[in-house]
């Protein structure tokens, strides 16, 4: 091998022009690959940090009947399938070795009603505020009002939604008991000046694909924005869970405490359309052969309203957010949870966060794919150029190679000589490219470039561009470089191997 490397090394200096062409291509390819890798890693980690740790958790559990897996951003507005019996599920889930914590929520799609303007559609996350804060920590920046206390009823309104409500309905929501903070006004609202209509209360109408549920008034307790990715995640506001349950027609903790009969439960959870279908207005038919249906429903609702509040975890949910212990991947966790639910006959399904966030996750995937395609294209071009240059080099060295073969060099010697030459170039120029790429990634991260553009925010994985590389990325770059070099050298090697001593002599 020493002889091969000696010849290869000296040939590199002998053919300086070709060395520089191949070297430049390898340098550029490695640089682009490294920077691209840095961006993808930054994007992944940014989304991981900002979405998983501040919005969705690693895994979202939904009812097994739930078909659409974009549970946190369903475009259809379809009500999610409900999850009951959470109190019995909770200990089982927390006993799993890979689960760190869980947060049961109600995901609701509502209209914000307005007597004079257009209703605004809006996603609400029904949460226990304390539990939410315990789960996500300080992921929100409360701009006005304050973070709600435990048990407090009302909405913590997203600043993005507040602007949207103003744009469609013409009023500006402010927290109860707070004066207007003009610093936070949108440019359009600022133009209204003294004529600006203010409201400290919003009326939500629960929506489903089948029909609407109840409308509920809700006090604005505060206005917030997500500390990261607010442009993308700010389509959600937080509502106390009991209000949202009532709004979308789920059992809340109080109805559970009353322990309604099966028939009553059906009535309370049924969509309005179902109720109409089962109710005979003319005859006053009953559901169970006892009291008239309308009276039955009235009795339940009346009892519920007078019953003291019970544990919020007793009610109905439609999603459970899961945070995994460090070192566990969502993909593996989904696999294990699926097997667990199957073996325990628990009617739940596990969904990875990237699927649960719907379009946002898909956009991130598309961007990663586009970056990969770009990097692959660069490498494809590099392979072609290197292949051509080396093939020409092989043809120009027919006399030398043929003479080596005549003297007794086997074909493998010729192959190894070409591989060694290209390998040395790849190691040097590719290595330089990876090094330069790493420095560029570090430099870009130090610039703290920030954006308010939604697309760029996905590309950045947050509000700030934070590309980063770890050892695995660098190793991946090196492996890819080796692979590209191998591909590029295949054809020239086959050309060189076909050179016979006779070819050399016929040129002599």
């Amino acid at each position: 091998m020493g002889l091969i490397f000696r010849i290869a090394w000296r040939n590199i200096f002998r053919h300086k022009g070709k060395t520089l062409v191949i070297g430049f291509i390898l340098f550029l390819g490695s640089l682009v690959l490294t920077v691209g890798n840095g961006i993808i890693t930054g994007l992944n980690e940014g989304l991981q940090k900002n979405v998983v740790e501040g919005f969705s958790g690693d895994v979202i559990l939904a009812a097994d009947k739930q078909i659409n897996e974009s549970v946190l951003a369903s475009m259809s507005g379809q009500t999610l399938e409900s999850i009951t019996a959470y109190p019995t599920l909770k200990p089982k889930l927390l006993a799993l070795p890979y689960i760190q914590k869980i947060l049961p929520v109600v995901v609701g799609y509502v209209w914000v009603l307005n007597e004079s303007g257009q209703p605004v559609d809006h996603y609400l996350l029904g949460v226990n505020f304390n539990a939410y804060r315990n789960f996500y920590g300080e992921n929100l920046a409360v701009l006005e009002g304050s973070y709600p206390d435990a048990g407090q009823q009302g909405v913590l309104l997203s600043s993005t939604i507040r602007e949207r409500i103003y744009d469609f309905s013409g009023f500006w929501a402010i927290p109860k008991g707070q004066a207007l903070n003009t610093h936070h006004l949108s440019p359009a609202a600022r133009q209204d000046g003294d004529k600006l209509r203010l409201s400290q209360q919003l009326v939500f109408l629960g929506l489903s694909q089948k029909n609407a549920s109840l409308d509920i008034p809700s006090e604005v307790l505060g206005v917030f924005k997500f500390k990261e990715l607010n442009k993308l995640l700010g389509f959600y506001s937080l509502l106390d869970i009991e209000s949202l349950r009532e709004c979308v027609g789920y059992f809340n903790a109080e109805t559970k405490k009353v322990a309604p009969t099966t028939a009553q439960s059906k009535l309370l959870e049924a969509e309005a359309g179902t109720l109409e279908e089962s109710f005979d207005f003319d005859t006053g038919a009953t559901l169970s052969g006892g009291k008239p249906l309308s009276k039955e429903l009235f009795t339940v609702q009346k009892t519920v309203s007078k019953t003291p509040a019970a544990n919020w975890e007793d009610g109905t949910f439609n999603a459970i957010m899961v945070k995994l212990k460090p070192g566990y991947s969502p993909k593996e966790a989904v696999k294990e949870l699926t097997a667990f639910f199957k073996s325990e006959r628990i009617p739940l399904k596990a969904i990875r966060w990237s699927q649960a966030i719907g379009m946002l996750g898909q956009m991130a995937l598309i961007m990663k794919g586009a970056l990969l395609v770009f990097v692959s294209f660069i490498f494809f071009v590099a392979v072609i150029i290197i292949m051509n240059t080396l093939s020409i080099a092989a043809m120009e060295r027919i006399t030398e190679i043929g003479m080596m073969r005549a003297v007794g060099a086997p074909r493998a010697f010729v192959s190894n000589m070409f591989v060694a030459e290209t390998g040395i170039l790849a190691a040097f120029f590719g290595g330089l490219g990876i090094l330069a790429g790493s420095l560029l990634v570090r430099l870009l991260a130090m610039l703290h470039l920030s954006t308010q553009n939604e697309i760029l925010q996905i590309f950045y994985g947050g509000d700030t561009f934070q590309p980063r590389l770890d050892l695995v990325d660098l190793l991946l770059c090196a492996i890819l470089l080796c692979f590209v070099t191998f591909l590029a050298v295949l054809y020239p090697v086959s050309v060189a191997r076909k050179i016979t001593p006779l070819d050399a002599m016929s040129r002599d």
């Binding site: 003297v407 010697f413 001593p501 006779l502």
Partner: protein, 224 residues
């Protein structure tokens, strides 16, 4: 004892839609220790004959035995080994590996053979360079040598493996007469001292003075 046997050897090369017959049924036996010249005008088939004997080409018809082995039955790997261990080549244009020094060029076939420790290989190469009086140029690159010096290095490389057969295709064609005579004298000395078989092609009558055996060839046929 025969080293090479040619039995009714023919060689045709395709040329467009037709073919050129370079050799037309050549038969001969070359004994070990021969110092033989193949003589003929350009295009007579001298180089083709040398190429066949050196196992760098295959005959179209006939049988060629090199040291008792039928070369038509050997694969590329075996032919390469045969060239490495039994045959030395001296080309017309003193083909040396340009990126290697004189010493490294002579070491080259020994390194391919993995014949001994690096220090032993180096010593053998130096000894051979002393034989061809190129010891003082060991560290030079081929581009720094004259034509005669390069040819001496090529001879050293051809002989360093102590092959049974050395083939030289017009070894003095590109040399001045003084250098050419010196090279032929050297080959003659090595033939006498080491018993190496030399076969060289030429169309220079001056060169023929050195040959013990002369084979004349014309239009692909042996005429003596």
């Amino acid at each position: 004892m025969s080293l090479i046997e040619l039995k009714d050897i023919s060689k045709e090369y395709p040329l467009g839609n037709t073919s050129v017959r370079a050799l037309r049924g050549v038969s001969m036996v070359i004994e070990k220790g021969a110092f033989m010249s193949i003589v003929g005008p350009s295009g007579s088939g001298k180089t083709t004959l040398l190429n066949l004997m050196g196992c760098v080409d295959q005959p179209t018809a006939g049988t060629l035995l090199v040291d008792g082995q039928d070369v038509s039955k050997l694969n590329d790997k075996d032919l390469t080994r045969l060239r490495l261990y039994k045959i030395g080549f001296i080309f017309q244009s003193f083909n040396l590996i340009p990126v290697l020094s004189v010493l490294e060029n002579v070491e080259f076939p020994l390194l391919l053979m993995h014949s001994g420790k690096p220090s032993e290989i180096r010593e053998r190469a130096k000894t051979m360079l002393r034989h061809v009086q190129m010891e003082s140029h060991m560290q030079h690159r081929p581009s720094e040598l004259s034509g005669g010096q390069r040819q001496r290095v090529a001879i050293a490389r051809a002989l360093v493996t102590q092959p049974q057969l050395v083939l030289a295709d017009e070894p003095t064609a590109n040399l001045d007469s003084e250098t050419g005579n010196a090279i032929l004298s050297l080959m003659q000395r090595l033939n006498e001292e080491q018993g190496t078989t030399f076969i060289f092609s030429t169309h220079d009558p001056e060169v023929l003075k050195y040959a013990r055996n002369i084979v004349k060839i014309r239009d692909g046929l042996l005429i003596t």
